[in-house]
């Protein structure tokens, strides 16, 4: 579904502290599977995730989503693709403070101009299915780690994306909650979603639900399984 060929990404290009986070990656991510990017911190796995998830553009190389070359697209169009194709669950969950959980869930749908009532109904249904229905009107900062993550998952699913991307999903959770998370991943996979994660947690990498593990080091692919 997503194909990368010779993808490179530089930061601070042309300056003295120029730094290449990715140094030529060739990779394919298959639809309907669960893939994990593994590697030590600084290995470029998060950068790779941002390129796959249309959060950023590669400095060189090509990224294809199905048959479309998206590496040269300006931000406006990249965003358009991103919000309909990808849902993101961030490591710090990144919920907005001071507003309710349900509002957090609905935020990605605002620029799409969907009807407010339908939207709120969908958000409620999603939160019910993730067992956080009762927390819908609590403020985001009052939620526990596990609840916050599930709100973040609901937010990632609000636009019904094909691909769900999670950055270090278990880093802030204890083992029990991590297991619960993997349960959610399983249901997502069962409903036909593609799931992409970064992790160096063996608990995640070695679970049955994970189909592929891609290992990175110093901006290069080391191993693909």
């Amino acid at each position: 579904m997503i194909h990368l060929s010779d993808v490179r990404k530089a930061f601070n290009q042309g300056k003295s502290n120029e730094f290449w986070a990715l140094k030529g990656i060739d990779l394919s991510v298959r639809a309907g599977k669960v893939t994990v990017f593994r590697g030590p911190s600084g290995s470029g796995k998060t950068t790779l995730l941002t390129l796959v998830g249309c959060l950023a553009r590669p400095t060189s190389g090509r990224v294809r989503l199905r048959d479309r070359d998206i590496s040269g697209l300006p931000e406006r169009f990249l965003t358009d693709i991103r919000r309909s194709t990808f849902g993101f669950v961030f490591q710090q969950f990144n919920l907005l403070k001071g507003i309710s959980a349900i509002e957090n869930v609905m935020i990605p749908a605002y620029p799409l101009g969907r009807d407010r009532k339908e939207l709120s109904a969908r958000a409620h249904a999603l939160m019910e299915s993730l067992d956080i229905g009762p927390k819908a009107h609590s403020n985001a900062e009052w939620l526990s780690g596990g609840e916050a993550q599930r709100v973040a998952i609901a937010r990632a699913l609000i636009n019904d994306p094909e691909v769900v991307i999670a950055d270090e999903p278990t880093a802030n959770l204890d083992s029990e909650r991590s297991q619960q998370f993997l349960g959610i991943v399983e249901t997502l996979k069962a409903s036909g979603k593609t799931v992409l994660m970064t992790s160096h947690d063996p608990l995640v990498c070695d679970t049955a639900v994970v189909d592929h593990v891609v290992t990175l080091r110093d901006g290069q692919l080391v191993e693909t399984r």
Partner: protein, 377 residues
């Protein structure tokens, strides 16, 4: 179309919710903004109301005034000039006027003396303006006496006081009868201070003025329109000067809003990053921030203008009177007639909302171009 509408509505909802989330900052911004609008609007409303007041008063004054000039100075005009003027076609009526100034040592103030023709004042009586009432604490029935030109005493009995409706011009008025006036200053009958002429067709004013000029070469002619024009430009000028002084405050305000908008807190930056990461586009974020600014500036404008309105028309514009009203000792105490002018509102809007918008565009853009992947770094 409905997609577009829903989008706008969702964005606006979110705008309001994020404004209320940062209540402290929003209110602080609003307070400064409102104060600026308040000051500017007070100046403009006040200046305009005064101009309006003057225009209302002048509207009742005669269209043409004729004064005699001797050696470049204003002199008494003989009544026979009236006949010459009445002979000109188009002149509806012409009459002599008597007026002047009288210094009252008891109050250390100058009164404006006038002889009204309709209704006439009984000899020995006087009608006084509001300011005179105050400085002399005179009530109807009281006696006031002055020294005439030859040293004799002339005594007046206060008949009544003029109301405060148009006190701006009438505060220092002192209305007496013709006989008393002539006695006080020793002006013989047959001489007037000037001549007031009314014209049947207002379009002929200029023509008639020309004819009078030709017939009476020793006079100068003043048209009401000319006075109005001078008033307008004098008041405009004063208002403009004040505004230029206030430009400093506008500038300070612009810097302040720049500072506020660019000094986004780490929390706000994080929020923008999150919004962009979850699928908001730079354009959406710019729209959101511009809307926030618009909500703040529109409400501050409304509140500030309303406060200024109350200040000028209900509390006598305590802050600016000395600057704008002038130099009279008999300082008028009165209520201005409320008057709101569209051009003025538009100008004021320009002066406040425009600098604010301009000052915030660049900082907003800076904040909005945060890379969406920053939240993952």
């Amino acid at each position: 179309m409905s997609v577009w509408l829903h989008k706008q509505r969702n964005l606006l909802d979110f705008t309001l919710s994020s404004l209320s989330r940062r209540r402290g900052k929003t209110l602080g911004m609003m307070a400064v903004y409102t104060a600026i609008v308040f000051v500017l609007a007070s100046v403009m409303l006040f200046a305009h109301a005064i101009r309006q007041e003057a225009a209302v008063v002048l509207a009742k004054s005669p269209e043409v005034l004729v004064q005699r000039m001797v050696a470049g100075r204003h002199d008494l005009i003989p009544a026979r000039h009236l006949d010459a003027i009445k002979a000109i076609r188009g002149v509806q009526s012409a009459e002599g006027r008597l007026w002047g100034y009288l210094f009252d040592p008891a109050a250390v103030a100058n009164y404006t003396l006038m002889v009204p023709t309709n209704p006439r004042i009984e000899p020995g009586m006087v009608v006084i303006g509001d300011g005179v009432v105050r400085v002399r604490s005179a009530d109807p029935g009281d006696l006031m006496s002055f020294r005439a030109h030859d040293g004799t005493l002339v005594q007046f009995k206060v008949d009544k006081a003029i109301g405060r409706d148009s006190a701006l011009v009438s505060a220092d008025l002192f209305l007496v009868s013709e006989d008393d006036f002539r006695r006080l200053f020793g002006i013989p009958a047959g001489l007037f201070t000037d001549l007031a002429i009314s014209v049947r067709n207002p379009r002929e004013v200029a023509k008639i003025a020309e004819k009078i000029d030709a017939a009476l070469p020793d006079t100068r002619i003043i048209l009401r329109d000319e006075i109005l024009r001078t008033y307008e430009s004098v008041f405009d000028w004063r208002e403009g000067m004040l505004l230029v002084l206030l430009a400093g405050s506008i500038l300070a305000f612009a810097i302040f809003s720049w500072e506020k908008a660019s000094g986004l807190s780490a929390e706000e930056r994080r929020e923008i990053g999150i919004l962009k990461a979850v699928g908001w586009e730079t354009g959406d974020v710019i729209r959101l921030k511009m809307q926030e600014g618009l909500v703040v500036s529109l409400s501050a404008f409304l509140i500030g203008y309303l406060l200024a309105y109350l200040h000028v028309f209900h509390f006598g514009a305590g802050l600016f009177e000395p600057v704008l009203k002038g130099w009279a000792v008999l300082y008028p105490k009165y209520r201005l007639t409320p008057f709101v002018d569209e051009l003025q509102v538009a100008t004021l809007f320009f002066f406040t909302v425009f600098p604010y918008t301009i000052a915030t565009v660049v900082p907003i853009w800076r904040a909005a171009i945060v890379d969406p992947d920053t939240v993952m770094r």
